[in-house]
C-alpha cells in the first residue's frame, strides 16, 4: 500500500505530538542515545587523532647512511636513484658534506667555542649522507641490508671495526620497538572502538525497546481499531528521528568541553598537537557523523523493537 499524503502528514503529526506528550520517556531516550553517540563520537575523534599521532611519529623515524669523503657524488646520486626504485622506500634526501656543515653552523650559531673548534679542524669534518624514509618502520631492516650487501658497499663509511655507518644499526632496537608498539596500538584502538560502539548500540536499543514495550497495549488497540502497520509504526519512527537529531546536537555540546579539557591536559604529551584543535577544525564532519549515527540508532531501534508488538 503506497502511503498517501494525508497518512504521511498524520504520521508526522502523531510522531511530534507523542514526542512531546511522552515528556520524561522522550528525554530519557534522548539522553541514552546521546551517551551512545557520545561514545561513538569520542571513539571516532580519538582514533583518528591517535592514528594522526602514530603517523607523525612514524614520519619522524628515518635512517641515514654516511659516505666516505672520497665517495664521488655521482655514485651517491645513483645509489639514491636505486633506493627510490625500491618498493619499501618512500623518500630519500641527499645531504652533501657542505650542507651538513652549514646546518651544523646554523644549529650552533652563537656558540663560539664550537665554531672555533671547527676552525681548528680546518677541513669539513662532515661526510655526505642519504636520509631514507621507509613506507613503514618495519621496512628499515630490508633497506639497511640492501645498503650493506649491495654494490655500493665500497663508498659507505665504516667505523674502525668495519661496521658500516648506517644509523639503523645504531637505533635498530628503538625503531623495532616503536614499530611494534605503533601497530599494536592501532589494533587495540580498533578493538576498543568496536567494543564501545557495540555496547553503545545495545544500550540505546534496549532503552528504545523498553519505551516501546510500554506502548504494547496501545499498539494492539490500534491494530484492533483498524490501523495499518505502517500507520502504527510511522509515529514511532518519526519519534526515533527526533530523538536522534536532538541527541546529536546535545552530544556535540557535550563533546566540546570534553575535548577542550582533554586537549589542555594532553597537548604537552603529544608534542603540541592538540585534540581540541582537531575537534574544532573537523566539527562539521563530526556533527554529520553524530547526526547519522543518532538518527540511525533512533529509527532502527524503533523499527526493530516495534516489530514484535505488531502481532494481532
Amino acid at each position: 500500500m503506497a502511503m498517501d499524503k494525508i497518512t504521511f502528514r498524520r504520521i508526522l503529526k502523531w510522531g511530534f505530538l507523542s514526542f512531546f506528550r511522552n515528556g520524561v520517556v522522550s528525554a530519557a531516550t534522548v539522553l541514552v542515545i546521546s551517551l551512545s553517540i557520545f561514545m561513538i563520537g569520542a571513539v571516532v575523534v580519538g582514533s583518528t587523532f591517535l592514528s594522526g599521532i602514530i603517523s607523525s611519529l612514524e614520519e619522524k623515524v628515518d635512517v641515514s647512511a654516511y659516505f666516505k669523503t672520497s665517495a664521488p657524488e655521482a655514485r651517491i646520486l645513483s645509489l639514491k636513484k636505486d633506493l627510490e626504485a625500491l618498493p619499501e622506500v618512500r623518500a630519500v634526501k641527499y645531504i652533501s658534506a657542505d650542507e651538513a656543515l652549514l646546518a651544523f653552523r646554523e644549529r650552533h650559531a652563537g656558540d663560539d667555542a664550537i665554531l672555533q673548534s671547527l676552525e681548528v679542524v680546518g677541513a669539513n669534518p662532515f661526510s655526505s649522507s642519504l636520509e631514507i624514509k621507509a613506507r613503514d618502520p618495519s621496512k628499515y631492516d630490508a633497506i639497511s641490508k640492501f645498503l650493506e650487501k649491495g654494490s655500493y658497499g665500497d663508498i659507505l663509511d665504516a667505523d674502525s671495526s668495519g661496521q658500516k655507518k648506517i644509523t639503523y644499526r645504531q637505533n635498530q632496537f628503538v625503531i623495532d620497538r616503536l614499530s611494534s608498539l605503533l601497530s599494536t596500538s592501532r589494533r587495540i584502538g580498533f578493538a576498543v572502538s568496536l567494543i564501545l560502539a557495540v555496547i553503545a548500540l545495545m544500550v540505546a536499543y534496549s532503552t528504545v525497546r523498553l519505551a516501546i514495550y510500554n506502548s504494547r497495549d496501545e499498539i494492539s488497540v490500534m491494530q484492533l481499531v483498524g490501523a495499518s502497520r505502517a500507520f502504527i509504526r510511522g509515529p514511532f519512527l518519526v519519534e526515533g528521528v527526533i530523538h536522534g537529531i536532538i541527541a546529536s546536537f546535545f552530544t556535540l555540546v557535550l563533546l566540546y568541553p570534553a575535548f577542550w579539557l582533554i586537549g589542555k591536559k594532553t597537548s604537552v604529551l603529544f608534542g603540541g598537537i592538540n585534540i581540541f584543535q582537531y575537534f574544532v577544525s573537523n566539527i562539521f564532519q563530526i556533527f554529520f557523523i553524530l547526526l547519522v549515527a543518532g538518527v540511525l540508532l533512533g529509527v532502527l531501534s524503533a523499527y526493530i523493537a516495534i516489530r514484535r508488538y505488531l502481532k494481532v
Binding site: 500500500m1 498517501d4 494525508i6 497518512t7 498524520r10 505530538l17 507523542s18 506528550r21 511522552n22 497495549d217 496501545e218 494492539s220 488497540v221 490500534m222 491494530q223 484492533l224 481499531v225 483498524g226 490501523a227 495499518s228 502497520r229 500507520f231 494481532v312
Partner: protein, 226 residues
C-alpha cells in the same frame, strides 16, 4: 452477517475454551453472549476480531473466512467492526476527541469528514464538553462512552462489546446499554458478551448461552438462566 462454523479453541488439554460452536448472527441483530466466567465468551469475540486463531472450524464475516484474510488486509475488515472492552482500552496519550478521531484517521478519512463526524458522535454519547480531556481525566463511565464513540464513529457493520459494563456502577451500566440499544436501533449489529443478569433480562433480545465452551442455549427474547 456473521457465522461461526463448528468453531473449537483448545489452548491446552486442560483449557478447552470453545468446543464445536456454530451459530449465525443476522445484520441488525442485537445478540448477547452469556455464560459464567471462563465459559469462552471473550475467546469467541477474539476469534471474530482475528486476535487469535481457532483450533478448528471457521468464522465468517459476510462471505469472508476472517482467518484466511492476508495480514495486510486485516485493517480493512477491522474497520468494519467497532470494539468495546471492559477495560476501555483508550489510547492514554490521546484526548477523548483524538481517540475517536484516531479510528477515522487510521481509515484514511478526509480531515473535513473527521471534523464533522467526531463531534457528532461525541454529542451522541454526551461527552462533547469533555472532548479535550485525556483518559486519565475521565471517569470509568465516561471512558466507556468515549470507547463506544470510537467504536461507532466509522459506521461499522457490527459493534462488539466484551463486558463493557463490567467495571461500572448500575447507573452507568444502564446508560451504556441504552447507548448500545440506540446504536442497534440505527441499524448496526451489536454483539454483547456479559454475565450481568439484570442487563439480559431487561434487554429481551436474542441470548446465546455458553457453558464450558459449548453452546447450550440459543433463544430469541432470551432470559438469563444458569
Amino acid at each position: 452477517m456473521i457465522y461461526f462454523d463448528k468453531v473449537s479453541k483448545v489452548y491446552s488439554p486442560t483449557s478447552i475454551a470453545l468446543e464445536d460452536v456454530s451459530f449465525t448472527i443476522a445484520p441488525n441483530e442485537f445478540i448477547s453472549i452469556v455464560g459464567q466466567s471462563g465459559a469462552g465468551k471473550s475467546t469467541l469475540l477474539k476469534l471474530l476480531l482475528v486476535e487469535d486463531w481457532p483450533t478448528s472450524g471457521k468464522v465468517f464475516f459476510e462471505s469472508n473466512d476472517v482467518h484466511a484474510i492476508p495480514k495486510e488486509d486485516l485493517p480493512l475488515i477491522r474497520r468494519r467492526m467497532g470494539v468495546v472492552f471492559q477495560d476501555y482500552r483508550l489510547l492514554p496519550q490521546k484526548t477523548a476527541y483524538e481517540n475517536v478521531a484516531f479510528a477515522l484517521e487510521a481509515g484514511g478519512k478526509e480531515d473535513d469528514d473527521i471534523k464533522h463526524d467526531v463531534p457528532q458522535v461525541l454529542e451522541l454519547v454526551g461527552l462533547m464538553d469533555k472532548a479535550w480531556h485525556f483518559p486519565h481525566e475521565l471517569s470509568g463511565g465516561e471512558k466507556q462512552r468515549v470507547a463506544i464513540a470510537r467504536a461507532i464513529v466509522s459506521r461499522p457493520d457490527v459493534v462488539i462489546a466484551d463486558e463493557p459494563t463490567g467495571n461500572l456502577d448500575p447507573l452507568n451500566t444502564l446508560e451504556i446499554i441504552r447507548l448500545l440499544e440506540k446504536v442497534n436501533d440505527l441499524g448496526t449489529m451489536v454483539i454483547l458478551a456479559t454475565h450481568d443478569k439484570e442487563i439480559i433480562n431487561s434487554l429481551k433480545r436474542r441470548v446465546v448461552t455458553l457453558e464450558k465452551g459449548r453452546l447450550v442455549r440459543d433463544e430469541q427474547r432470551g432470559r438469563y438462566v444458569l
